[in-house]
Symmetry: C2
Subunit: 254 residues, 2 copies
């Protein structure tokens, strides 16, 4: 690999529930005069996928349970919001003032179950959950782009996650189709013939992090980035972003 | 920002202690026919910085202390290696079979104090420590490139870190000059006028992650990546990669 280019699509409209993302992308690609090629990687911010899939919840319809009330008192969050977080999670990892970190039903550890209230219309009453199955969303889009344009691309779904010990959020891969999310180097050797100790590269997270930087933040609204130059061996049959999740028995921090 | 390009420099030689990295870079840029421009960002793998600064330690000269022997028995690592890790660290975060996670003297939490034994010649007896002060290394190189080429670039030093809860290592920024490592969004509003809750973007980590993907791994040896297209507001007077480190009082995981 010599060079990798990340290009944000300009002018993606506000996504409404039910909109077909493949159509939105086709229009945006045409408007940006970008022709998709085999082995391009599309990175989509989860927010537009969630909006298209109508993962909105009206907080006024949410009845917080006992556990949500208890946790809400600890983290000073809206109990209805906490109830939603619990419904999207398999366990609570940390709950202190202003912080609620959980293991999401999709496997990763994330604050607030990655439920979002920024950049959504009517946010005082609305929250936006992650897509039901971001791998499946990515795969549907990958197939549909193949049908439309005859190209074999990969599709990644991104979100911005906080990290323990480091400040600032960083783009992270939560859905994956057509790319190996994790590159396995086990048994390979370094340039001096020594067996590598570091054995797995979080390829999809690295690509998504770069793409997230190009997306920009907040009011900028560039939720789709086309990545060109990813070498052939990274591509594969659909795999799951779950490959990036450390198995529970290796977890030293919960 | 519309587009970001990451280009790896080909043909960087094995770096020997005492080699001047600015000269190595100047040659590599010429050979790759790349002309540095204002606001390019150079990302350097820590390994070449450490090698140039002769941060090699001969393990045969290391006498493990009592604490090193005790920890080595727990993590099944060479006690001399553990002694080096302790000397580079301010505290031990986790120590179990095959895993030794510490807070590095530079502030971040990392396995083995980021001491490396892969891709270094004579590794059975040698270990390579991180640069003494990666921010200062980056700043020296930034100034020297300014003198040589009359351009204002930023320089980042990268390393591949593991993460709790996620598999695979991911490029992380450990040294920074000329760029804002952390973009502060506090008080800004989203597209619908709502105050943003996520307030800080780990810009340098996102750029470094993308660059690390382009560097490739192991035997490939592309330790320098030129990033073009980073928007002007990200540039700044020298700041420290320490800005990316979460203050201890916010730490929920050690």
């Amino acid at each position: 690999m010599r060079s990798l280019t990340f290009t944000a699509l300009q002018g993606i409209p506000e996504i409404e529930p039910g909109m077909a993302l493949d159509g939105v992308l086709a229009e945006a690609l045409a408007r940006n005069e970008i022709k998709l090629l085999d082995r391009d990687v599309l990175v989509l911010c989860q927010k537009i996928v969630s909006k298209a899939e109508n993962r909105y919840v009206d907080l006024r319809t949410v009845e917080p349970g006992e556990r949500a009330l208890e946790l809400a008192a600890k983290c000073y969050k809206d109990p209805r919001f906490v109830e939603l977080v619990l419904r999207e999670s398999t366990s609570v990892i940390r709950c202190v003032k202003d912080v609620l970190i959980v293991r999401h039903r999709l496997g990763f550890v994330v604050a607030n179950a990655a439920i979002d209230q920024s950049n959504i219309p009517g946010a005082e009453h609305r929250a936006l959950l992650l897509p039901l199955d971001p791998d499946a969303s990515a795969e549907r889009l990958r197939r549909s782009l193949h049908e439309r344009f005859g190209v074999n691309v990969a599709v990644l779904v991104s979100d911005s996650f906080g990290r323990p010990w480091r400040l600032g959020v960083c783009g992270t891969c939560i859905g994956c189709a057509g790319l190996k999310p994790l590159l396995d180097m086990r048994g390979k050797h370094d340039r001096f013939g020594r067996t590598l100790k570091v054995t797995q590269i979080a390829a999809a997270d690295e690509i998504v992090a770069g793409a997230t930087f190009v997306m920009g933040e907040a009011d900028e609204g560039r939720p789709v980035v086309v990545v060109s130059g990813v070498p052939e061996p990274y591509f594969s049959e659909p795999e799951s972003a779950r490959a990036l999740i450390r198995p529970g028995e290796q977890d030293l921090f919960t």
